[in-house]
C-alpha cells in the first residue's frame, strides 16, 4: 500500500538529488557487527563500518524495540524501516532486521528478515522479524539490529541496535 505523493514533492526531491547522486553497488551484509552491553538501554549503533559515498544525502534508520506481538499469540516481533529525508527520490532500500537473544554472554541471532521497501514505515514499508516463543519457562534479553542499504547507492553501513528488552519468551 502506498500513499500517492504529489508530483511537486517528487520533483523537488529529484532536483535536490541531481548532480549529487552517484549510483554504486549497494553494500551487502550477511551478519551484523553489533556493539552493546547486556542490559544497556543507551543509544547504540555499530561504528565499525565505512562511510558512505556521495549522493545519499540524509536518511534515517528506524526501528521499534523487540516486543510481544499484539496480534499473534506467543510471538515476539522486531520491525525496521527507513526515512528518506534528503536523498535520491523514489528509491528503495534493503532493510535487514536481526532479532537476537543473549546466551552465554553473547548475542545470537534467532531470526533474520530482509525486504526492499520504500521510505516511510507502516506495514507495507518495513521489515518484520518474528520469533515464535516456546513453552519453556525463562526470561531472556532480546534486541534487534537494523541495517538499511539504499539500493543503487553506496550508503554508509552503520546499524541501529535497539535497547535490550527482557522478555518471558521461551527459547
Amino acid at each position: 500500500m502506498r500513499i500517492r505523493t504529489g508530483a511537486a514533492a517528487a520533483a523537488l526531491a529529484g532536483l535536490l538529488a541531481v548532480g549529487a547522486a552517484v549510483p554504486a553497488q549497494a553494500d551487502s551484509h550477511d551478519t551484523p557487527r553489533p556493539r552493546g552491553t547486556a542490559g544497556s538501554t543507551v543509544n547504540t549503533f555499530d561504528t565499525a563500518s565505512r562511510a558512505a559515498g556521495p549522493g545519499v544525502g540524509m536518511f534515517q534508520t528506524m526501528g521499534d524495540n523487540v516486543h510481544f506481538s499484539h496480534t499473534v499469540r506467543g510471538n515476539i516481533n522486531a520491525h525496521g524501516w527507513w526515512k528518506n529525508l534528503r536523498g535520491p527520490a523514489g528509491i528503495k532500500a534493503k532493510v535487514t532486521v536481526w532479532l537476537q537473544v543473549k546466551r552465554g554472554g553473547e548475542w545470537k541471532t534467532l531470526t533474520k528478515a530482509a525486504k526492499n521497501v520504500y521510505s516511510g514505515g507502516g506495514s507495507g514499508k518495513r521489515t518484520a522479524a518474528a520469533y515464535k516463543c516456546t513453552y519453556n519457562v525463562g526470561q531472556y534479553d532480546f534486541r534487534s539490529v537494523i541495517d538499511v542499504d539504499l539500493i543503487g547507492y553506496a550508503d554508509d553501513s552503520y546499524r541501529k541496535v535497539t535497547p535490550t528488552q527482557r522478555l518471558g519468551c521461551g527459547l
Binding site: 500500500m1 549503533f45 499484539h70 530482509a114 525486504k115 514499508k125 554508509d156 528488552q165
Partner: protein, 289 residues
C-alpha cells in the same frame, strides 16, 4: 507475563472521505522484493495509522529508535523517550457499524519511572490520524493500563482538569458507561471496590461529571454498544473479565473526556493500592442513530 504495555483504542463509526481512494492505493510491488517470506501484517488501516508515530514525533514524543545518517556519517542516534511504540491497527469496514477504529500498543518506559501512563497523548495522535482519513462518530475508548508501571504523578492530579471539562454546555447530557476489567487473583480491582471507586471518581470530577452508583458488572462485557472490544481475542488482555461498571452523565462527548474518565479511574485505583493491569473503558450507553 508481558512487560508493562499500554494499549489505547478508539471505537466508533468512520466514513472515509470521498477522496480517500484517490490518495490511498494498494502497492503490489511493495511486498514483492522480500527475501524473508510473506509478512502477515499489511492492512490499509495498519499502514495509515502508523502516521500516528510520525505525528507523535512532531509533538516531541520520541517513540521509536533511529539513526540519522547525514552525508555518510551518523549525526544522531535516538531511542524512545515518551513511550516505546509497538504496533497499531484498526478496522475501517464501511458498513455503518461500531468498529475498533484505531488502537496503538506501546511499551511503558520505566527507567526512570515516568509519572502516569501515556494514555492522553496516544489517544490524541490516534484521533488526529483518524481525522486525516474520514469523519468519525466516536462512541468509546478502551485502555489497557499496566498500573504497576505508572509512577505517581505528584505534579499533576486529574482533579485539576475539572475546570477544563466544566467549561461545557450546561444543558448537554451524554449517558456514558465506564467499566473496569482485570484478571482474577492478580491483586487488581475487584467487585467490592466499586462503591469506593465511584465515590473517588465523583469527588475528583467536581461536578463536571454526574456519577451514578455502581451497576452490575457483565462477565461477558454485554451492554456496551459503543465498543467493539473482545478482551479474550486480544493478546495482551486474554483472561481479563469485567469487574466494575458504573454509569455517568457528561456535558460533552469526545475522546478528550473519555480519556479523563479513564484517567480518573486509574488514579483512584492506584490510590487504593490496586496496581495490577486493568482495562478501563468509557463508552456511550446508546449509539447515535
Amino acid at each position: 507475563m508481558f512487560p508493562p504495555t499500554v494499549v489505547v483504542g478508539l471505537h466508533g463509526v468512520l466514513e472515509t472521505y470521498p477522496w480517500f481512494d484517490r490518495v490511498v492505493k494498494r502497492d503490489a510491488d511493495s511486498d514483492a522484493d522480500s527475501d524473508a517470506g510473506s509478512d502477515a501484517e499489511g492492512s490499509v488501516e495498519e499502514e495509515l495509522l502508523f502516521l500516528a508515530v510520525d505525528r507523535a514525533g512532531s509533538y516531541g514524543w520520541q517513540t521509536v529508535g533511529g539513526l540519522l545518517h547525514e552525508d555518510g556519517r551518523v549525526a544522531a542516534a535516538h531511542d524512545p523517550t515518551a513511550w516505546a511504540h509497538e504496533e497499531v491497527g484498526g478496522d475501517w469496514t464501511q458498513d455503518g457499524g461500531v468498529r475498533r477504529l484505531a488502537w496503538l500498543g506501546a511499551g511503558v518506559l520505566t527507567d526512570p519511572p515516568r509519572p502516569g501512563l501515556p494514555v492522553r497523548p496516544i489517544a490524541l495522535v490516534l484521533s488526529e490520524t483518524l481525522a486525516r482519513v474520514g469523519a468519525t462518530t466516536f462512541t468509546g475508548l478502551h485502555a489497557l493500563l499496566p498500573l504497576q508501571a505508572a509512577g505517581r504523578n505528584t505534579a499533576f492530579h486529574q482533579i485539576e482538569l475539572a475546570p477544563w471539562f466544566g467549561m461545557a454546555d450546561p444543558d448537554a447530557r451524554h449517558e456514558v458507561v465506564v467499566t473496569v476489567s482485570g484478571r482474577p487473583g492478580e491483586g487488581g480491582a475487584v467487585e467490592d471496590d466499586a462503591a469506593a471507586l465511584c465515590e473517588a471518581v465523583r469527588e475528583r470530577a467536581q461536578g463536571a461529571v454526574d456519577v451514578s452508583a455502581p451497576a452490575p458488572a457483565s462477565a461477558a462485557g454485554d451492554g456496551l454498544p459503543g465498543l467493539a472490544l473482545d478482551l479474550e481475542q486480544a493478546v495482551h488482555t486474554q483472561g481479563m473479565r469485567e469487574v466494575i461498571r458504573f454509569d455517568c452523565r457528561t456535558r460533552e462527548w469526545s475522546p478528550d473526556i473519555a480519556v479523563w474518565l479513564v484517567e480518573l479511574v486509574a488514579e483512584a485505583l492506584l490510590e487504593a493500592g490496586r496496581s495490577a493491569p486493568v482495562v478501563v473503558t468509557a463508552s456511550l450507553a446508546r449509539v447515535p442513530a
